[in-house]
């Protein structure tokens, strides 16, 4: 394989790509859907976790919390008002500061704070608010404070916000429209217009053509996928792990795309297969969309092993231990698809690319 020729073909793809409607659609569609979902359901413009405070005394912690830029603080006059706000989801967590709170922690006494958490709030937001309250108490006492936060969950814990439910679907769309659909349609277009025959009767090999198309799909799918995560504030936790997972998933998408392009005869058939195959690709996202469906159903589908780590990191605050298995499966799937791609190339060499 000649990297020089792959580079030449890559240049051609990039020159031709922006003139192609599908190329633009692959970038724009997921972003537009993501923005629409965020605007309708979500937290696009209110990304900070919200802390509700009901102060039974006159604690300085309230003022200190209000000065913070990383969280939004709202004050309530009564415990009932605070509980109501939590129940409605107006705040992610509400705390009740007992009378004499400041004196107690200054004297090093054990202090208990009642906290109410909204059942639908994200785990990472609860974790941020919990850490913030403990940090403020430490600043107030000037040393490590012995504050116990006793949480009570209000609202439906199984209920997940819609924008979070939709996120896996939009991420998969981004990865597979760019990563899979674009290389597939690009190969098929070249077959239909017979330009692929012209390319492979030069010293250029079929592998070089496929690699160039796969790289363009990979780059576009990864870029759009990361943009979607950034737009949904899902990119802050463990960015390197997220990039790794997204990259492995997009490699799989590009491999499937190139193989599909080589095997499918024309654009009409591709669109027909996309309708059917799309269900298989996006099935795991429907399990996240409707949490009533048992998770084992999603595990049957290869794309689960892309979306599970993304959700685990971005929504559950998970790290490497929680995603290791999925990442290993994803690497296995990438290698398996590489084998399939090699078999397709070998067939094309023997019987022609249009066979």
């Amino acid at each position: 394989m000649s990297l020089r020729r792959v580079g030449v073909l890559l240049g051609k793809e990039l020159l031709q790509g922006p003139k192609n409607f599908i190329f633009i659609w692959a970038v724009v569609a997921p972003i537009v859907i993501s923005l629409a979902v965020s605007l309708v359901f979500g937290n696009l413009f209110t990304d900070k976790p919200t802390l509700g405070v009901m102060d039974e005394g006159d604690s300085r912690l309230v003022t200190m919390a209000a000065d913070l830029t990383s969280v939004v603080t709202k004050e309530y006059d009564t415990v009932a008002g605070l509980r109501d706000a939590v129940q409605r989801g107006a705040v992610d967590m509400g705390i009740v500061l007992p009378d004499g709170f400041d004196d107690s922690i200054l004297q090093g006494e054990d202090v208990r704070i009642s906290a109410y958490t909204w059942g639908e709030s994200l785990a990472k937001e609860r974790a941020i608010l919990r850490a913030t309250v403990l940090d403020l108490a430490r600043q107030l006492s000037g040393r490590e404070a012995t504050v116990q936060i006793e949480s009570t969950s209000l609202g439906d814990e199984t209920s997940i916000p819609w924008d979070d439910r939709v996120l896996p679907l939009v991420v998969l769309m981004a990865v597979f429209l760019g990563g899979l659909f674009l290389p597939a349609i690009s190969v098929i277009n070249e077959k239909e217009k017979k330009t692929l025959e012209a390319l492979v009767t030069t010293p250029t090999t079929i592998e070089e053509v496929f690699v160039a198309k796969g790289v363009v799909g990979f780059g576009l799918g990864l870029f759009t996928g990361i943009v979607i995560l950034v737009l949904n504030q899902a990119f802050s936790a463990e960015p390197l792990l997220l990039v790794l997972v997204m990259a492995l998933g997009t490699v799989m998408a590009s491999e499937i795309g190139v193989v599909s392009g080589a095997l499918i005869k024309d654009t009409t058939t591709l669109f027909a297969m996309w309708k059917f195959g799309g269900i298989l690709l996006f099935a795991p996202a429907f399990v996240y969309l409707f949490p009533q469906i048992p998770e084992w159903v999603a595990k049957v589908f290869p794309t689960y092993y892309l979306i599970q780590p993304v959700v685990e990191i971005s929504q559950q605050g998970g790290g490497w231990p929680e995603i290791a298995t999925s990442v290993l499966v994803l690497i296995g799937l990438d290698l398996a698809m590489l084998g399939v791609a090699a078999a397709v190339v070998s067939r094309a060499r023997a019987y022609g690319i249009s066979s």
Binding site: K12, K19, K193, A198
Partner: protein
């Protein structure tokens, strides 16, 4: 014409049950123009696909420039130029961009696209998108693309099919220039007149087999019928035609009789065309 540029031995290719190319054998010398003639579905394009390394032979072998096409296709492809039957240019790119892309893939440096475009009569239109070109212009660009690497063998599949006379003439001129440069030309066509004009030798392919292979002159000698055709006026004033075979011992006497006993209006010599010979050999026409 010294070495063989192409050597084909018992070449076979099947599409499922259909044998498209059936144990054909032939040689093409360096610097020769071989006209490869046959009707649609005769096996012409399949043979070209094998010889240009697009598909692997399923039987026999083909040596192109001394290399086995089944195992050395990429080395062969760096030395050949292919002009396809169907237009397969990047239509959203300009003519210049199309040529530069292929020159880069061949690793041709330096590359002068303007000279090549001028040669095929496309100077001044190099920056236009190919989608705005006429069929003749596209075909001329296809020929130019086949020349970017100064190929040692030029495969041309129906290069003038359906073209206006001016474009066809430009392409025929390029073919003769390439032969003069020393390139071998493998010309696939079903235009017998064109093959007759351009080819050093012609091969007739029919139902996957080579039915005849020789120079046009020899084929005409071997299979053709030379005759004199005369138009004569009958006593009632109507016209009738008379044919006198030219290769008979009685020819001189027949001509004498004709002028002595008939009122001759016109006389033409008649020579068999390649198409006549093809029909005679294969029992079918070229369509």
């Amino acid at each position: 014409m010294s070495q063989d540029a192409i050597v084909v031995e018992d070449l076979t290719y099947r599409y499922g049950q259909l044998t498209a190319v059936d144990r054909i054998s032939f040689k093409v010398a360096e610097g020769e123009i071989l006209g490869f003639l046959g009707p649609n579905g005769a096996g012409k394009s399949t043979t070209v696909k094998v010889l240009t390394g697009q598909i692997r032979p399923q039987g026999g072998r083909a040596l192109v420039l001394g290399l086995d096409i089944a195992t050395d296709s990429k080395r062969v492809q760096s030395e050949i130029g292919v002009c396809f039957e169907t237009t397969n240019l990047y239509e959203q790119m300009s003519a210049e961009e199309n040529l530069r892309l292929f020159a880069r893939l061949f690793g041709v440096k330096p590359f002068d696209s303007s000279a090549l475009l001028q040669r095929v009569g496309l100077a001044g239109r190099e920056s236009d998108r190919v989608e705005r070109y006429s069929k003749g212009m596209k075909q001329r660009l296809m020929v130019a693309r086949a020349l970017v690497n100064r190929p040692r063998i030029l495969f041309l599949d129906e290069p003038t099919d359906g073209l206006d006379p001016a474009s066809a003439e430009v392409i025929r001129g390029v073919i003769l220039e390439e032969r003069a440069r020393g390139a071998t030309v493998f010309l696939t066509t079903h235009d017998m007149m064109e093959a007759d004009k351009l080819s050093d030798r012609v091969a007739f392919i029919n139902q996957g087999r080579i039915a005849a292979l020789d120079t046009p002159h020899n084929l005409k000698q071997q299979y053709g019928k030379r005759a004199l055709r005369a138009e004569v006026a009958s006593p009632d004033g109507s016209l009738a035609s008379r044919e006198i075979p030219m290769d008979s011992p009685e020819t001189a006497r027949a001509i004498e009789d004709l002028f002595e006993h008939e009122r001759v209006i016109t006389v033409h010599s008649e020579e068999a065309t390649l198409e006549d010979i093809f029909i005679r050999i294969t029992g079918r026409g070229l369509v």
